[in-house]
């Protein structure tokens, strides 16, 4: 029972890292980017290629996956996304759906449509028992890593100079520019960083949630749930939402498998109906 709970927490943490970038672009910059999962998938595939073709160790692949997705995100932001910030939501939706479809087909073409496997190093396999509760080592690794990352993100957003620049740029772009904040640069870096996090999440999650070309579409809703249910005022909301989602999903799948994904969808609809601004958002 507690093992399931822990699995759920690990899954939730993973979802948080995957969706953290989206929480910033969608939550703070108000840009509907449905293609966020594509960057996560890119990170996952980068890891697969680096490990299986070049034999790099898993731990070295993680930062490389981050860098790869971040670079990809940076290029896309500079070339395409920056034209879309001022557009209507409909345009943003259509544009990012288009990107999702292209990424699915391109991945299918380059890598084949089968599920990809990552072989974890031996020291991350198996499970340990703490107080009679079996805990997978890899899941523990994910929880620790993702918690550190969540803390780091919160610190960066709240305490550093870059964080305050970002918050200012999001609140009022014109005023921020007037104060000499390089808004364009801040947005580009943020976007790249968020994509990098997604890539890292994709690399970490390949073992747990699987990796195939339909990844961006399959998890699109999960990312959106994390951001909208969590609310958009801080990173704490998305973190709590991700944890809830992870626990509810894993528990639901273990305890009442015949219900499948209904639990998630039903909770999402209920929350959105009762609190359209998100569960943890202060009223605007």
């Amino acid at each position: 029972m507690l093992t399931i709970l822990f699995d759920g927490i690990a899954y939730g943490m993973l979802l948080f890292v995957l969706a953290a970038g989206l929480a910033v672009t969608l939550g703070l910059m108000n840009f509907v980017n449905l293609a966020h999962g594509a960057f996560a998938m890119a990170g996952g595939y980068a890891t697969v290629i680096l490990m299986n073709r070049f034999g790099l160790p898993f731990l070295l692949c993680l930062p490389l996956a981050f860098l790869f997705s971040a670079a990809l995100g940076f290029i896309f932001e500079r070339l395409l996304y920056r034209h879309m910030y001022e557009r209507s939501h409909l345009d943003q939706v259509l544009f990012s759906i288009g990107l999702v479809f292209m990424s699915i087909a391109a991945t299918d073409y380059l890598m084949g449509s089968q599920q990809q496997n990552i072989h974890l190093p031996a020291y991350l396999q198996g499970r340990i028992f703490i107080g009679g509760v079996g805990i997978g080592i890899y899941r523990l690794f994910i929880v620790v890593l993702c918690s550190l990352m969540a803390l780091g993100l919160q610190w960066m957003l709240a305490k550093t100079r870059f964080g305050s620049q970002l918050r200012a740029a999001v609140d009022d772009r014109r005023a921020a520019r007037g104060l000499g904040i390089p808004v364009v640069k801040v947005f580009a870096i943020t976007f790249a960083f968020g994509s990098g996090l997604a890539g890292l999440g994709g690399a970490l999650g390949a073992e747990i949630v699987g990796l195939d070309p339909t990844f961006p579409l399959k998890f699109m809703l999960y990312f959106l749930i994390v951001v909208t249910v969590g609310g958009t005022s801080s990173l704490t909301g998305p973190l709590l939402a991700a944890l809830m989602l992870g626990v509810a999903d894993v528990m639901g799948k273990y305890l009442v498998p015949q219900l499948g994904a209904f639990i998630i969808y039903a909770i999402m609809l209920a929350v959105l109906m009762l609190r359209p601004q998100g569960l943890f958002a202060r009223g605007r």
């Binding site: 939706v93 990107l99 999702v100 087909a105 391109a106 579409l217 749930i225 499948g260 959105l272 359209p276």
Partner: protein, 343 residues
């Protein structure tokens, strides 16, 4: 930008009365008549392409239904396939369990989808574009999951088998070439189009456009938003359900694919190509979309989805208004007469 000042009229000229204004907008123009005559003319002209034409007519109806909520009420929906699927499964189940007469099945399926749409509409009243996006997507996913899980009713992933559709009105049998199918779908689409045309040119339709342009302002001049959104959303669901029922009846098969996310996205792409907010956008877009899909999937069967994404990205990046204006310039007078706002 929202409203042109009325000073373009010569001074002293009487403003037309509201009824006259509405009637002027609702008057039939000759390209519209031509459009429908050629659509029906295709029944005689291309006897071996009727299966494709049938699909175009159904997709056109589906896109028309999305246009009702997107182009007229401004609701961005990512899950319109939910109602298409409900209608499709309803028609399939009816045909399987005794009601084999297509027109009855069509009306009942539309009613079923309408009921679902009515219930779902209360969920999109609150919140922003993003919330609506999620809710519509969530509803579609729930129905996809339902159809998948309730396999003793729906056949699950294998699809619903054993549908036998009787002759239309007890007289016209479906044939292999699809001539009956096309005639049937086109007639249904045409009749539903007439109804939609009547509705969007009514004061109700006008008030919807006011809501879309400026929610707050419309509310202050006494247009109650919620009731209108519920009404148009229900109507759009009925239309989508009927489109689904048509597809079921003419292909005699229902599968989970009817509820796919890709189907909702297809409808959006059709509207992007054809332009939204003037009823013909869905129909013209459906023609362009199907022809394009046919050619592209003949070239690269597995990767058609890539080109679909590519077209979406290009259309949005360049600006669909600008690109379409360039492409449509030769036809501009024609489109304007069809009621498109852009040249």
């Amino acid at each position: 930008m929202l409203s042109k000042p009325p000073s373009t009229r010569p001074l002293g000229a009487q403003a037309p009365s509201p009824a006259a204004f509405l009637q002027a907008r609702a008057a039939w123009r000759w390209p519209e008549i031509l459009f429908w005559i050629s659509a029906f003319g295709l029944i005689l002209l291309f006897p071996n392409r009727h299966l494709l034409l049938n699909e175009i007519a159904i997709l056109g109806l589906f896109a028309l239904s999305l246009d009702l909520i997107l182009g007229y009420a401004g609701i961005v929906s990512l899950g319109h396939a939910a109602f298409f699927g409900v209608g499709a499964y309803a028609a399939g189940l009816l045909a399987k369990h005794g009601v084999s007469e297509p027109v009855t099945g069509l009306l009942l399926s539309g009613a079923a989808a309408g009921l679902v749409g009515f219930l779902a509409s209360f969920m999109i009243l609150r919140g922003t574009d993003l919330t609506r996006l999620m809710v519509t997507l969530g509803v579609a996913l729930i129905f996809h999951e339902l159809a998948n899980r309730l396999d003793w009713i729906t056949g699950g992933a294998d699809g619903l088998l054993g549908i036998s559709v009787g002759p239309i009105l007890g007289r016209f049998d479906f044939d292999f070439a699809g001539t009956t199918a096309y005639t049937y779908s086109l007639t249904a689409t045409f009749l539903l189009f007439l109804l939609a045309r009547r509705i969007v040119h009514s004061p109700f339709g006008l008030s919807l456009k006011a809501l879309k342009d400026n929610h707050l302002r419309a509310a202050t001049i006494g247009i109650a938003p919620n009731r209108r959104i519920v009404a148009i959303y229900t109507l759009a669901a009925v239309y989508a359900g009927m489109a689904g029922a048509l597809l079921t009846q003419t292909t005699q098969f229902v599968s989970l694919e009817m509820l796919d996310f890709a189907r909702s996205a297809d409808a959006l792409l059709v509207l992007v190509i054809g332009g939204s907010g003037y009823l013909y956008g869905g129909l013209i877009g459906a023609i362009a979309f199907k022809l394009m899909k046919d050619t592209l999937s003949a070239m690269t069967p597995a990767y058609w989805i890539f080109w679909m994404g590519f077209i979406l990205v290009i259309l949005v990046l360049i600006g669909r208004d600008r690109l379409m204006a360039t492409l449509a310039r030769p036809f501009a007078p024609l489109l304007k007469l069809l009621g498109a706002r852009r040249p």
